[in-house]
Amino acid sequence: MTAPPAQRGRRRVLATTLATLLSHYRRHPGQLAMLLLGLWVASALWSGVQAINASARDSYARAEALFESRLDRIERRDGEPLALAEYLDLRRAGAAVSPLVEGTLALTDGEGASRPRVRLLGIDPLTLPGDSPLARRQSSGEALRDWLLPPHRLRAAPDVAAAARADPRLPPVEVDASLPPATLVTDVGVAQRLLGLDGLTRLVIAPRAAAELPATLVRIPARQLASPGQLADSFHLNLTAMGLLALVVGLFIVHAALGLALEQRLGLMRTLRALGVPGRSLVVALGLELLTLGLAGAALGILSGVALARLLLPDVAASLDALYDADVGTRLALPWSYWLGGVAITLGGLATAGAGLLWRAARLDVLALGHAQAWRARLARQQRRQAVAGGVLLGLAGLVGLWLHLAHGQHLVAGFVMVTAALLGVALWLPTLLGGALRLAAGRLRRRPLWQWALADLQLQLPRLQLPMMALLLALAANLGVSSMVGGFRVTFLDWLDQRLLADLYIHPPAERYAALESWLDAQPEVATLLPARHADATLLPDDRRASDAAPAPVALFGLRPAPVLRASWPLAATRDGRDAAWRALEGGAVFVNEQLARRRAIAPGDAIRLRGADGNVHRLSVAAVYPDYGNPHGEIVMPVSRLARQFAAPPGSLGVVLTADATHRDAALSGLHERLTARFGPAVSETLIDQHALKAESRRVFERTFAITAALNGLTLGVAALALLTTLLAQADARLTQLAPLWALGVSRSRLVAAQLGQLAACALGTALVALPLGIALAWSLVAVINVAAFGWRLPLHVFPGQMATTLALAVVVAALAALLPAWRLWRMPPRRLLQEFAAT
């Protein structure tokens, strides 16, 4: 069917207009490359972060789907494996418990090659509670027979299925996409054989099923089991915020490049309008051009984002494992929504960046369209509107900050709104601030005509430079803010490690040898102080004297000996009557709570809390102090170890050993103690000995890895800002010649012109960096005092590092110099004939 003539005519106008508009890029391929580069970088960083988030969410969903997190656990109080007899006794008593074996298995291919270590679970499908997904999978008779009878079956997560198939010890492998990464599941008997276990790791039971337990066993409700849930969400929210920042900075490039491409085609558009192209068709053609560019940029960006995610995912997985015990696979798992979302966000961002330009092009009448003067007059008005919008955003940031302060709010979204509004508000004010500074400086340079010209010329360039400078401001402020936060975190965390890991050695002996080892160590000449520690679980009950809607919450109990060496260095964030009084109160029956729990439940020193132990007894305890507990996502309560063992039946835990020897003789003392320990208690005990130095080194390694992705994204964002500046400079290089050629004709050499150009940009970037300094420090404060508290439950002290501030200033100049290098080099190499042409034209 052929279209009616009018419709055919409109299509023809649109097609010819679009082809004519796009022909601009054929003559200016560099401009097109920069536009696509901006889109590509913005989309790649955003897509990379989203790919990481999507893969992590997939891992959480699979872990959530596994039966374990939905069932109560039954374990021995002393942490030892359960005997088969204990399981059978419970079954005979009518308890619907199911046996479970868990351990780490090093896979092998039978030829000694190194293979991954996996988590192996052994289950009994006959007794496993019926609503477990794994129980349902073996529900058919044939599947059950295969599972129970030799050679049995083994279900493997997709990432380790191939390695499992290569291991000759394992039963036939079936891939199960719903399993968490690096997990294998098989029959309980097969798992025992593979792990070399006689007993059972634990029993599981449906949450509502009744079971009378002997005193040696403890039941841990499913809801008390650690879940990455909210905390991991916070981590991903932070990642998303970084990705969003990169996207915004990238879109600044796009906006700048589009604006210049449009401005350079004003004459072309006027001609097209004069030749009979309706304004609407012109705007539609420009929209189609944006769509084409957007789709190309999105495709490039998403593919690169996936590659970036592949590169960063191992570090992120390590961070999540270290911070939240969350298992995240190192293989990408991307749902269809990821691909569509990537295209949508790129196109949406492009529409946002280009909408203003389309609107302005549509509103300008055809006779003014070709006059850059009209365009610039609008830019001046736009700058005034920008300043007003910036003021409104800063006001909003102030109001949200005030509300958060007054309401003691821990609202992550409100925190992000405050930070975003403040960043954008200051960015919108930047052109006004720079313009003011330039006017001030120009007035003082009357005796240096070239400098005066350079400053006046820079003022003329500001409308074009404002977007890349805003992008640079955001990137520098984010760089300084995040670096200060991470640097402050590092200093605080390492101090905290030194304070908490006081002992030179830590030993985790088997429960039955704990008492004997404690007495033996106490008698050794190398041992100055023994610091025994125990752990238990309890439930924090709502305060019965305060109106509160808080539900009972699981908390970890930590027992320590308040020895003088510990009292001197253990950090306390808040006390009522000072440190000494707090420690005396602890010995007299009070407890300390960690900052996370104190913030979550609004607990302050002097308050009373109610704890229900595993035996059901409720204890009312007074809080003597709040202590910082960085990196721990859980609520924790500290009390003397003797009381914890007595009141909460805490099993023996670890023994910390503070040596008498000074640093120079430490190794000799350590080695002597280790030898005698091995001789007295055997290698089973001495192998549990951990040197504090190694523990600290491992903690530092985990810390550095945790922030590896932050540093990577930070660097990339700064790179994007440099690209934004380069894009603008290259795109306006030809137009700049009309300003430079008359000066050259008046006797200013090309080398001085190049120096003036570089100086202009360095000054502009330096001014931007000076604005970025207070903004970055404000951002660091927001991160440690608002975002961190809302996301993780603890607050960091604000550290400002003069070295990082100097680095920020230097980075700004380096970024500007790098971006200006190529245009300056082109000017340097330009034949005089070209400058002569420009001079003749002006």
């Binding site: 055919r8 207009t17 072309l268 097209l272 004069a274 009979g276 309706p278």
Partner: protein, 221 residues
């Protein structure tokens, strides 16, 4: 072909509206050529813009063919311009990113009235043969203006509006361009309204009118 009746146009200034055209009555017959003369700022270009539908008058009526421009919206005026008018500017306004051939056929393609024989004829007559693949910046001023005339005539318009078409050329090149313009107009049976401040340029045309302070001050038969 073109009829202006009591047309007025003003621009706002801090001192009140400034009338650049006031009470203009003008008529142009099919195939007729008319020179519109006047000093700088007399309103010549404004009148041309109004006739082309690029701008709208404050008062009065402009009729092109049988259509009153006031009855058309922006898209309608653009359609009329595309299908029935040819425009030649003093600054040429060629598209720098299109080749000579693409520039020459641009309006014809927009109007869906591309005629290969006529295009070929124009290229020959305009002296652009062999230059089709070049870009405007690679042409001399005279060649660029001839190309702009070719672009305006390629869709065979009923009326050619030319704003100082030789203003940017030296005398010799200007004469060549004008001779060519008149000859091609004769071949395509097109009316011509040409703005100029030069009596020498205006002399060969059928009629000449003078604009003075926004009013038609003098008529030359």
């Amino acid at each position: 072909m073109l009829q202006l009746t009591d047309v007025a146009k003003s621009y706002p200034t801090p001192q009140g509206p400034l009338f650049v055209l006031d009470g203009i009555d003008l008529r142009l017959a099919p195939g007729e050529s008319l020179a519109l003369m006047g000093e700088s700022g007399s309103g010549k270009s404004t009148l041309l813009h109004l006739a082309a539908g690029l701008d709208t008058p404050d008062r009065g009526e402009i009729v092109l063919g049988a259509r009153a421009l006031s009855s058309l919206d922006e898209a309608g005026r653009a359609d009329l311009r595309r299908q029935r008018l040819g425009l030649v500017f003093q600054q040429f306004h060629l598209v720098p990113s299109l080749s000579v051939l693409d520039n020459l056929t641009l309006q014809a393609r927009l109007a869906d009235r591309e005629d290969r024989d006529w295009t070929h004829h124009l290229i020959e007559r305009l002296g652009l043969a062999g230059l089709e693949g070049r870009y405007p910046e690679q042409l001399s001023g005279g060649q660029q203006q001839r190309l702009a005339i070719g672009r305006a005539l390629a869709p065979r318009p009923e009326l050619l509006l030319a704003d100082e078409p030789t203003g940017n050329l030296d005398e010799g090149a200007a004469d060549q361009v004008l001779d060519l313009l008149r000859a091609l107009i004769g071949e395509s049976d097109c009316a011509l309204l040409m703005v100029t401040h030069s009596a020498r340029v205006a002399a060969p045309l059928d009629r000449c009118v003078h604009l003075h302070h926004g009013r038609l001050a003098d008529r030359t038969p």
